[in-house]
Symmetry: C2
Subunit: 271 residues, 2 copies
C-alpha cells in the first residue's frame, strides 16, 4: 500500500490542494503531479502542501515535445519548456520529470526521432545539476504520429543509455507497453533505469486513442506479471495509478481514490 | 501500375462481380478478396469471373482466430474455419491466405500466443499440399486484446520460420507496422517470407481502432520508404491498397478505385 501513488490525472477534478489532502486522508503517501494543476497554486505552494500533509511527489508530468510540435499541430519550444519543467520539478521536490517526446515533425519519422535524442543530450546535464531525473515514456504506437515518436521501451532505453542512469531513465507504463512481445526482456534490460511504473487497464475495443484507459482489473493487462518484471529489474519505487477515463472524471475525487486503492490492492500488489 | 491490387474492403459496396469487372475496366490486374464477399457468389463462380476478366487474386482474407474467440467474444473453431478458408483460397486460384490470429483467450496473453503457434503448425502441411501459403499478418498493438496477439513483424516471423517458406509467410501491412522502430530491420529479416504488402494511411488522431485508415498520402506513413524496404527484401508481388474508411465506403466503387489508383501512383510507386 505504501508504494501506491495517485497520478493526478486520475482525479482530474481535484486541484493540487484537494488531491494532496485527499491522499493524506486515505493514507496514500505518493502523488504524481501535473504541471497545469501545479500552475494553479504555484510550485512553492505545492511543495509546502506536500510537506504539510506528509505526501511525496513521485513525478511531475510533463516535459518533452522535442520534435517542436504539439498534438494539435502548433509549434512549441520543447527544450525551453522542459527546462522550466525541470526547475519546477526540483521546486516541488520530485526526483522525476516525465517526458512525452512529441510526434512527427515535417512528415519525417526518422529525423523526428533524432531530434528527441538531441534534445535529451542537451537537457540531461541541466536536469542532473538540479537533482531531477528525466524519464522517457514510450507511448502506445497509436499515439506515434501526433504525440510520441518513441513507441517502445527498447527505443527509449537506447536514448537513455547514452547518459548517466541518474540523469535519464524510463517510465514503464502498462497501457503503453503491455502488448509488446519484448516487454519482459525490455524491462529486464531497463534495470537501473526505471524511473517510474504506471498502472491502469485498457478499454476493449479502443474507440479513442487517448482516453481508452480504465482502472486495473477491468481489461486485458496482466498487472501482477508486469509488476513482478519491474521488481525483478530492481525497481522498488512508487507505483502510479494513472487513468484517463471520462466516466471516472465525472466522479468526486475521494470516491475515485477509494476505487484506485481497491483496484491496486486487488489487481496489482502480490496476492 | 501492374502490381497494384485492390483489396476488396476498400470498395466495400462492391460485390465480387462488380469489383472484378471494376478492376478490369480500370486496368487493375489484381484483387484481394474477402470471404464474406466470395460467399455471396461462391468460390467456383469467383474463379470463373477472375478468369473471364483477366484479373488475378492476390490474396484471400481471411483465416485465423486460432485463440478460439472472435473480436465480439464468441467462441470459434479457428483451425476448422481456416481449413475451409484454405480450400476456398485454392478454389479461387489465390496463392495466399491472410491470417488474423485472434485476441486474448482466457485472459492469458502468453498462452494465447502459444495457441497461434500450435495452430499454424497444425495447418501448414494442409495448406502446402493445396498450394496455399499461410500469411501471418501482425495487427496494430491497439488490436491486440480482441483481434491479434501478434503485434509485430518480428513476432510473426518467429512463428513463420518454424515452417517452409512456401507454406508460411507474413503480410507487411503499413497501417499495422509503420510506427515500429524495428520495421526496416524486420522487413529485411522477412526476405523470402513476404507474402503480401498492404498499403494505406492512418488517420490522426485515432478515434476508432479499427476504422482509422485513409488513402495513401493523407497521413503520417512514408510509403516510399516502406515500399523500398519490402523490395530490397526481394518482394516483387502485388501491392494491395486496403483502406477501412467509413467515408470512402459511402462512395461508388468506380469512384473509389479511381482515387486508389491516383493515390498509389502519387504516393507509393517510385517517383
Amino acid at each position: 500500500m505504501n508504494r501506491l501513488s495517485l497520478n493526478q490525472i486520475t482525479t482530474k477534478r481535484w486541484s493540487v490542494p484537494e488531491a494532496v489532502r485527499g491522499c493524506a486522508d486515505q493514507g496514500v503517501e505518493w502523488i504524481g503531479l501535473w504541471r497545469d494543476k501545479i500552475a494553479e497554486v504555484g510550485a512553492a505552494e505545492t511543495a509546502r502542501l506536500l510537506a504539510e500533509h506528509g505526501v511525496r511527489a513521485s513525478s511531475v508530468c510533463r516535459g518533452g515535445f522535442f520534435t517542436g510540435v504539439t498534438p494539435e499541430g502548433a509549434a512549441v519550444d520543447g527544450v525551453g519548456m522542459t527546462r522550466e519543467a525541470i526547475d519546477e520539478t526540483a521546486t516541488v521536490g520530485a526526483d522525476v520529470l516525465v517526458l512525452v517526446v512529441g510526434g512527427i515533425a515535417d512528415g519525417d519519422l526518422l529525423s523526428s526521432r533524432q531530434r528527441v535524442a538531441d534534445a535529451v543530450g542537451e537537457l540531461a546535464p541541466y536536469a542532473r545539476e538540479r537533482g531531477v531525473r528525466l524519464a522517457l515514456e514510450p507511448l502506445h504506437p497509436m499515439q506515434c504520429a501526433e504525440r510520441s515518436v518513441l513507441s517502445t521501451l527498447d527505443q527509449a532505453l537506447e536514448i537513455a543509455q547514452e547518459h548517466p542512469s541518474d540523469a535519464v531513465g524510463v517510465i514503464v507504463d502498462e497501457f503503453h507497453v503491455w502488448w509488446d512481445p519484448r516487454v519482459e526482456e525490455s524491462i529486464a534490460k531497463a534495470a537501473g533505469r526505471i524511473a517510474g511504473f504506471h498502472v491502469c487497464d485498457q478499454q476493449v475495443p479502443i474507440t479513442d486513442g487517448l482516453m481508452a484507459r480504465s482502472l486495473p482489473g477491468t481489461g486485458p493487462i496482466d498487472h501482477r506479471r508486469l509488476r513482478s518484471c519491474v521488481e525483478e529489474a530492481g525497481y522498488d519505487g512508487p507505483v502510479e495509478v494513472e487513468v484517463f477515463d471520462a466516466d471516472l472524471w465525472q466522479q468526486p475525487g475521494d470516491e475515485v481514490l477509494r476505487q484506485v486503492i481497491t483496484a491496486y490492492e486487488e489487481h496489482v500488489i502480490p496476492r
